[in-house]
Every structure is written in C-alpha cells, then in structure tokens.
C-alpha cells in the first residue's frame, strides 16, 4: 500500500484554529454570500416587478369598480309608447329605443326645472349626461312591464362616460376644450346635479357581472359574461389537459420503449411548446370549426384550442418531475410485487405531484391570459351575449374571454375603456390567484424532500 506521506500538496496546516477563517475559506464564504445574495436579489427582483405591475394595474383599474348613476323620474307616456293603447306587446315593440329618448329628455328637463337649476342647455344636451344606453334600459323595462305605461316611475340610469370621468377626475373643464361630446355648461349642470344628489358615484357591480357594451357606451361595459367564458374554457382545459398531459408524460417517461418513435414524440412535444399560440388558432379554426362543425365563437372550441396549447407545458413539467423521482422507489414497489402501473400510480405519481401541479399552474395561467388563438376562432370582438344559463349553453354559445375582452377594450377609442381594461385585468388576476391558490394548497400537501 502507498504510505500516507506528509509530502502531499497540503496547503492546510494541521490543527489550525477554527475561530479564524483561512483566506481560502473567506474567499469561499464570500462566494457563498454572493451566491446567496444573487438568489435573494433574483427573488427580490421578481417580486419587485410583480409589485410594480400590480400597483400599476390597480392604480389604473380601480376606477372601473365605481360608476356614476343618475336617478330620474320618467313618465312612461302612453301616447308615445303605445299609440293604439291596447297594450299589445307587438305594438309596444314597434317603438324603438329612439322613441324612448324624448321621454328621458323630458324627465331630465323636469328634474332640472324642479331643482331650480339655471342652465341654458337644451333638453337634448341635458340628456347627453346620461348613458346612450338609457333608452334601451327604459324600453326593456316597459317590454317586461307593459302595465307600467302611463305611470311615472323612478329610474336609475348610468351616467355618460364623460360625466363619470368628470366625477373621477379624468375629465376636466380644460381637457374637454375640443371635445364635441361634452361641453362646459354640461359639466356645470353635472356639478349642480351632484349637489342635489341626482348624480352619484357608487360601487359598480355591473362591471363585474355585466357583459360588453359597444364603443359609444363604455359606462355600460362589464366583464362578467366573458369571465364566464373564461371559466368554461378553463374547465375544458383543466378537464382535458391535465389528464391527457399526465397520461402522455407517464407513457413517455415510464413505459415508452427507447425507440426512435418515442424520441419523435418527445421532440415533438417540446416543439409544440414553441409553436406560436396563434398557430393553434389556425389549427382550431381548421379542425374544430371547419372540419368538426363545432360552433364559432364558442368557449368549447376555445377550450379545446387552449388545451392543445397548454399540453406541452404540462407534459414537459410532468416529465421533469417524474424523472426526478429516484429509481429506488420504483424498485421498492416492484420488489413487493407491484406492477409497473401500480408502482407509477401509487408511488411515483404522488411524489411527482408538486411538479405536475406547477406545470398545471403555469399552463393554466398562460391559457387564461391568451388572446391570439381566440382571434381566429371568433372569440375576440364584440360579443355581448347574455350570461349562459346552462353548462351546455356556456360551452356552445358565443362568448368572449377575459383577456380577449381586455384586449378589445384596450383598443377602443374612448379613454373610459382604458380604465375598464385595467379593471378587467384586476379581475383576471383575482381569478388567476384564486385558481392558483387552490393548486398551491394542493401542491404543498405533496411537497416533501426524501
């Protein structure tokens, strides 16, 4: 045997004190501290960015959660609404929203007069303080309650977005100099009406529950329906991509023979992750709508497209997680007579669960925020449908999705939509955080180092 000679190149002396760090240790510890500092810096940087983004989002969007309303007493003039006077629904229907506008003008004129407010405005300009949707609101009410015709009732109308912006400080007397939609006298009137309590700003549940409105009435737009659209899509995505993704990963990682065709599948899947999302839209349009005759603009199709898009993410993370489970665990299970299938499902999968859930969280987050593929299957645009009343309707009837809705709003001309876009983002994030929290709780139950 070789002798243990002292002749080695030991720069370290025997019996050196521990209380003083050697130069080398100092250097290594400095490296250690640097390394740790990088870690902290990395996390801090990430969290800081998140904080900036969230502050940004909330700062821009919280305004969408309040809205200005105008309360007026409207006389539902029978002479205008039901000329024949037979309360025949068909006759009443013949009066379009344009026919209701004068009623509102009269009502606000009366209100202004009753309050004794001095203004030179014409009734039409006074009524411009109200949302352009006000006549429709009246008409809907009348169609539902034909016997109300002839009565005078109190209605709460949305105020015009300019008035709303004025109350929120977005619109000022100075900023509207060239604006042909609102004038200084109108703002003066607004001030008076606010003082009189006719105009007030309150919490806006319609924004959270309602559906989209056209470009000329941003005040009426809500994100509720598209939230349902997103919800149904996420249900489809979760129900399909998680089981399919996990199954595919299990096959590839645990069962697949080492052969060229499994390599092909493997490379294929990582490659699918790099396919731009809009291409999945092209695919969805070609396969689901044109070939399989699924309806256009339907969350079902959207969910299917997003499923295909999320699958690679889930598969890649699941495979990585499966790979990380030590082989001795599989041996142990096989050794007591478990089948490979049992070993995988009883032991490997639970150990890989945190990684699978991480993939699911990230995949779903991505799917939830994705717009581009929806563009091609008709879920982006103006889709102001009513909230679906059943699961089937939720899946099959035209709907939009939150990111698509936000994207649309962000494009629109009226700055009031800008605020709503950010408000929508807040809701989207709340939705996302709720979804993630569930998964994170589940993930923490599986996490353990062995």
């Amino acid at each position: 045997m070789t002798d243990i000679s002292q002749n080695g190149s030991t720069p370290r002396k025997h019996g050196e004190t521990l209380m003083k760090l050697t130069a080398r240790t100092k250097r290594r510890n400095a490296a250690e501290r640097r390394f740790q500092a990088y870690g902290i810096a990395a996390i801090a940087a990430g969290l800081l960015m998140l904080a900036i983004l969230v502050v940004n989002i909330v700062g821009n969007g919280y305004g969408a959660f309040t809205q200005t309303f105008v309360t007026l007493d409207v006389t539902l003039d029978a002479a205008k609404l039901d000329k024949k006077g037979q309360r025949n629904l068909d006759d009443i229907k013949k009066v379009s929203t344009f026919g209701y506008a004068p009623l509102i003008q009269k009502a606000i004129e009366a209100k202004v007069a009753a309050l004794g407010v001095k203004t030179d405005l014409k009734p039409k300009d006074m009524a411009a303080l109200l949302s352009k949707g006000a006549p429709a609101q009246l008409r809907d009410y009348v169609l539902e309650h034909p016997d109300a015709i002839g009565k005078t009732l109190s209605f709460r109308f949305l105020a015009n977005s300019r008035v709303d912006g004025y109350l929120k400080g977005r619109v000022t007397r100075h900023s509207i100099e060239n604006d042909k939609n609102i004038s200084v006298p109108q703002l003066d009137l607004t001030d008076q009406l606010v003082k009189a309590g006719v105009i007030e700003k309150t919490f806006n549940s319609e924004f959270i529950l309602g559906s989209d409105a056209s470009d000329q009435r941003p005040e009426a737009a809500g994100i509720g329906t598209s939230m349902l659209g997103s919800l149904f899509m996420m249900l489809v995505v979760l129900a399909l991509s998680l089981p399919i993704g996990v199954a595919a990963s299990i096959f590839l990682e645990e069962f697949a023979p080492k052969a060229w065709w499994t390599d092909v599948i493997e490379v294929n899947i990582s490659n699918l992750a790099a396919v731009p999302s809009i291409v999945f839209g092209i695919l969805g349009l070609a396969v689901f709508i044109n070939y399989m005759n699924q309806p256009m603009s339907a969350p079902l199709v959207g969910g299917l497209v997003l499923t295909l898009m999320t699958l690679p993410t889930i598969i890649i993370s699941t495979r990585a997680a499966l790979k990380a489970v030590p082989p001795s665990i599989r041996d142990a299970a096989l050794g007591v007579g478990a089948s490979k299938m049992q070993a995988v499902f009883h032991h490997v999968l639970p150990l890989a669960a945190p990684g699978i859930l991480t993939g699911t969280i990230i995949g779903l987050a991505q799917a939830l925020g994705e717009t581009a593929p929806l563009l091609l299957i008709g879920m982006v645009g103006f889709i102001a449908s009513n909230p679906p009343d059943s699961l089937a309707a939720g899946l099959m009837e035209p709907n939009s999705a939150m990111p698509a809705q936000i994207y649309e709003w962000a494009k629109r001309a009226d700055p009031a939509f800008y605020e709503r876009a950010w408000g929508g983002i807040i809701i989207l994030l709340v939705f996302l955080v709720t979804m993630n929290t569930l998964a994170v709780i589940l993930r923490r139950r599986f996490e353990r180092r062995w």
Binding site: Q36, I250, I265, I278, L283, A324, Q366, A372, N436, T437
Partner: protein, 492 residues
C-alpha cells in the same frame, strides 16, 4: 330515452357490473380474496370497462354519424326545384334544421302535440309566427318543402335515436355479460385492466403527434400557395422584410429570424439567471414560509396578460431606457444611442420578467427532488452550500432544468404582444440592442390580422413563416435533446 339518460343508464349498468364482477370473482375464489389472481376491484374494473367503453364508443360514433346520415337521407328528399336560385342544398338543410329544432322545442313546451308536429301544414298555420313566440327565430317563412323535410328529419332522427338506444343498451349488457361470464379466480383481471390503461396512455401521447400533423396540414397548403406567388429564394435568402400593399413585396425571413433570436436571447439572459437563482434560493436557502409565499407570487408573473407587459414595456421600461441611453446630453449617460422607447432591449427585458416563473418554479421542483444524500455527501466533504448547489445539485437536476429553459425559450419565441409594443415592427439586421426589431411570430400575427388581400403573398407569408419557424424550433429541440442525453447525470 334522451341521450343524457342513456349515458346515465350505461354508467349505472357499469357500476352494477363493477359490483357484480367483484362479487363473482370473490365467489369463484370461495370468498377468499387471496386465491384470486388480482385484487377483487380489478375484476370489478374489468367488467366496468367492458360494459362502458364499447357502449360509449358506439354511442359517441353514433352521435357523430347519425346527423350526417339523417342529413343525407333528408336532403335526398328535397327536390331540385325546391332549392331557390343561388342558394344551396346546404342552406336549405340549415333551414330544415332550424324548423325541426323549432318543432322539437314546440313539442317540449307543449305548444304542439307530437301528433301535430308531425302533420302540421304550412298551408294552415303561420309556423314562423308560432315558433317566433317560442323564441325560435327563423330567417324566412317556412316553405312547405322545408316543413315536410323537417318533419321527415324529425321522424328519421327519432327512429335513429331509438335504434341507438337499443344498440347501446344491448352492447352495454353484452359487455357486462361477457366479462362477467369470464370472471373467475384465474382470470388475469389486473393485466387486462392495465392493458386498457396502457392503451389510454399511448393514445394520450399520440395526441401530440396528431396535433403536429394538424398544425402542419393547416399551414401546408397555404404555404404552397405562398411559394407559388413569391420566390422561395427571396423568402429564405433575401435580406429585406418589406411587405407592401401593392404586392411586389420583399418578404425575407432572415431579418425576422435574427430579431426573433436576438429578442429571445435577451429575454433568456434575464429569465434564466434570475429564475435559476430564485429557484436555487427557494429550494436550498429559503425557509418554508418564504418559499410558500414567494413561489406562488412569482408564478403570478406568468399569468399576467401579455398586453399588460406590452403596455409596461411601452410606457415604463422603454422611456426609462431612453432616459438612460438616449436623450443626448440630458440623458443619464449623456449619450444618444436610443431614440424611441421600442427596442430589442425593452422587449427582451420585459419578456424576461414574464418568463421568470417558467424557469424558477419548474427548476425549484426539480432541484427539490434531488435526494438529500447528494447534498450530505458534498457538505460532508467541506463544500459550501453554493459549491454543493453548483457542482452536485444542479448537474443532477440538469435534464429538468434544461426542460424548463426550453419551455421559457419556446414562450419567448411564441410571444407577440410584448414584441409588438416593446420592440416595434421594423425588421432589420443590427447588433445594437437599442434599436427596434421584430420577430417571426409578431409578423405571423400581423400579416394574418391585417387588411391585405387574403390570397396575396403578403398574407400567405404568415403560413410560410409559421411552418419555417416550426421546422427551426424542431431543429433546436433535437439539439437540446442531444445535449441533455449527453450530459445527463442520473442519481442513485
């Protein structure tokens, strides 16, 4: 029996089969489960699957095929002259559907009896009005041929449905009977059930192939048309990307490819170190509470809609960079290297932020799975924690980490909104990260959503770009697979 109840019935039968199969197996072993080849539940599952799978398969197929069959048979009935000029059979059939659906609804609501629905005549009733009352809107008045066809449609549909119920029920019963019959203590139930599950796993994996085929096919023909309109040499080897409304554009992928690679590279330059360090810190240093909060918080970054990042790039990051690198003497550095807010750097930085969780969360899981004994071995030799991480833990976790980075890179290549708002729309070759550039993906989106003629090279180029990108990333992935195979370190 409505389809829903049929499904419920089949499931109920399957559940019953489960219990019966279990019981029979136990019975055959004289009540002693240990004499069975497999666990009793496997026998149950076997019966359950044989009851369920064929029946549901046939049900699904039937539901898919029946409409076409009915369609075919009904459309055969519609006389040539019943098709209005300039309309097509398909459109008439759509009308027929609508009327048939209306009749169905009317029967459901009790507005018509089944009898009436079958015999009603347009000559005597204003069907459009009656259906309108029920909320079924029709495009035009119902013509007699259409109504007849609709009635016929309903009749055939109903009989088809009846047959389906019978067939599916029989099939379920047969499956149940067959597998129940075969249940005995020597039957290898577990193997059969596992083979079934195995088949499902293979199917799931093959879906990826199907998707790929779908993607390639959905872009292939359009790409061919593109290359018929535009020279392939310009596309692959040209130097300029300048689409033009009048046609006659220069459409070369190279400047776009350069932009794609450059922007993705910068994004990864941000995301990979930050993400990896974050992952290492979370899994090796942070205590449980920090980890429990920081990780999910970082994951939110992946879920913020990209339009927010786009605006963030345009309104916050871009101007900030300009104030550093631009503005001449007034700028922070007193230089004038950057003129607009949009640049490769702007987009890269912001995209990097978005990608952090892709790297950090996935890597954290992988690192966490490296066995503690590995760390012990290294620490026991007097290594510091960081040395342990760098030289033992990370190499052991390499395949997973490469996967995570690939995923992030893939996202970077596929991202649009951030590039559009952060990097601009100009395609050019330049090494300067402070200039605007653009990527293949954004060009795909913008050419597809533009106002140009859809049959022109300017629009079709999107498909060619898509397919080329697909091939390129495929190459990258093959390379990555090769690298991982080569450097893979398997613990235990």
């Amino acid at each position: 029996m409505p389809t829903f109840w049929l499904v419920v019935f089949v499931f109920a039968l399957a559940a019953l089969g489960f219990l019966a199969g279990r019981a029979r197996a136990l019975h055959s072993a004289g009540g002693n489960a240990r004499d069975l080849h497999s666990l009793p539940n496997y026998y149950g599952a076997n019966v359950l699957l044989t009851t369920l799978v064929p029946a549901l398969l046939v049900l699904g197929l039937w539901l898919m095929i029946q409409p076409s069959v009915v369609q075919y048979r009904v459309s055969g009935m519609i006389p040539e002259q019943a098709i209005p000029e300039n309309s097509t059979l398909g459109l008439v059939m759509m009308d027929v559907h609508q009327v048939a659906a209306g009749l169905d609804l009317a029967v459901d609501e009790g507005a018509l009896t089944e009898q009436e629905a079958g015999t009603i005549r347009t000559e005597f009733t204003d069907l459009r009005a009656r259906l309108g009352e029920l909320g079924v809107a029709l495009g035009s008045d119902v013509r007699p041929e259409v109504l007849q066809a609709a009635q016929r449609y309903r009749a055939i549909d109903a009989s088809g449905h009846r047959n389906m119920v019978i067939v599916v029920t029989l099939l379920a019963l047969a499956g149940l009977g067959f597998s129940w019959q075969h249940t005995n203590k020597d039957f290898r139930a577990r193997n059969v059930v596992e083979q079934g599950i195995y088949a499902l796993l293979v199917l799931a994996a093959l879906l990826a192939i199907l998707t790929t085929i779908g993607i390639v096919l959905s872009m292939f023909f359009e790409s061919i048309s593109f290359f018929k309109l535009h020279s392939w040499t310009d596309f692959f080897f040209g130097g300029t990307w300048a689409p033009n409304f009048r046609g006659d554009s220069e459409l070369s992928i190279l400047p776009l490819l350069w932009g794609t690679l450059y922007i993705s590279f910068i994004a990864l330059l941000v995301a990979v170190p930050v993400g990896l360090f974050a992952a290492v810190y979370l899994s090796e240093y942070a205590n449980g509470h920090v980890r429990a909060f920081a990780k999910p918080l970082l994951e939110i970054l992946a879920g913020i809609p990209t339009i927010v990042y786009g605006l963030f790039a345009l309104l916050t990051v871009g101007p900030a960079l300009v104030s550093v690198f631009g503005n001449g003497p007034e700028g922070l550095l007193g230089v004038d290297w950057m003129s607009g807010a949009t640049s490769v750097l702007t987009a890269g930085l912001v995209m990097g932020i978005m990608l952090i969780p892709f790297v950090s969360s996935l890597s954290d899981d992988i690192i966490n799975a490296v066995p503690q004994t590995m760390r012990d071995g290294s620490l026991g030799l007097g290594a510091t924690k960081s040395e342990t991480v760098r030289q033992v833990v990370l190499p052991a976790a390499l395949p997973g980490i490469v996967g995570a980075i690939l995923l992030a890179a893939s996202r970077a290549i596929g991202e649009t909104m951030i590039v559009v708002m952060g990097a601009g729309a100009i395609a050019k070759f330049s090494l300067n990260p402070l200039e605007s550039m653009t990527t293949i993906t954004t060009r795909i989106v913008s050419q597809l959503t533009g106002d140009t003629d859809f049959a022109s090279a300017e629009t079709l180029v999107a498909f060619a770009l898509g397919i080329t990108l697909f091939v390129l990333t495929l190459g990258l992935n093959v390379l990555a697979l090769y690298i991982v195979r080569k450097y893979r370190e398997q613990y235990e």
